[in-house]
Symmetry: C2
Subunit: 151 residues, 2 copies
Amino acid sequence: MDITRDTAPETNRSLPIALLRAREKVMGPIRAMLADVGVTEQQWRVLRVLAERGTLDPTEIADRSCLLMPSLTRILQTLTAKGLITREAHPTDKRRQLVSITPDGRQLIADNLKESQRLNAWLRESFGADKLDALLDLLNELDALDRDTRG
Amino acid sequence: MDITRDTAPETNRSLPIALLRAREKVMGPIRAMLADVGVTEQQWRVLRVLAERGTLDPTEIADRSCLLMPSLTRILQTLTAKGLITREAHPTDKRRQLVSITPDGRQLIADNLKESQRLNAWLRESFGADKLDALLDLLNELDALDRDTRG
DNA sequence: GCATTTTACTTAACATGTTAATGGCAAGGT
DNA sequence: ACCTTGCCATTAACATGTTAAGTAAAATGC
């Protein structure tokens, strides 16, 4: 008597698992690229955000790079030690900090952005631009769920 | 909404980030449910696989639950300590083990499966069955990329 | 003005992710 | 039997995920 035999979805029909596998598929090559430079996927995300938006406070970095504050705290320490970012106190609010990317950080981005885009282009061509866009739309729509109708 | 067209894609058009956010959206409620029972999302996945497929060796568990072997090793230790699984030596191959779920483990599954299905149904209704299926199809297709043309 | 609450960040503790190295064992070739 | 090779599982080391608690400073309320 296996209760779960009929009721539980197969793993390929399980959204969490499917998301996990898809993410691993996409991140694999990127991680390999970044490993050569000595930064992790998350550190790369933080640097990218800083390169794109300029000086930010940790809370906004966490939001934009999809990291929780405890993780970000450690990552900022690491990136500071690597000389890829700098941190200064907020002029008026002493609780806050202002984080900026250094020239070395920008250089690291520049050195890897082309390869990153190449991988992105490969995915787009290999998977299909229409499907990729459809997938992104669905994912964003899913993420936006329950933004207003939160009972 | 200021979608600036820089060299780098915005985070909502970045597939890795979009996958991350979507996964967080889906897993949040499930994690909350499991936290009440004292098991993690990954431990739940392992138990589910064992409940669905019966006795398995760690390698196959890792494959089916999308876990790397080092993670699985620790998880199996934890689950054994919790009395939710049992491990025995393989009869002919002494490198392998055979892992089975215990009655307590099955009970934990049974106690939470209904709620898990309720969350699943909510997602299906809230997001739309057609869109959910389309999303799963796209994710599976993405995961299958390069499976045959690998050389 | 002062106490309370909220905010921004940090720290702690535990679990997992990730890569590399290790040890025990099996399979194949000689 | 011997050696090489490969496989299974574990361990190690470091980074992150996750929740809860802690610290300092700003905002709020009385």
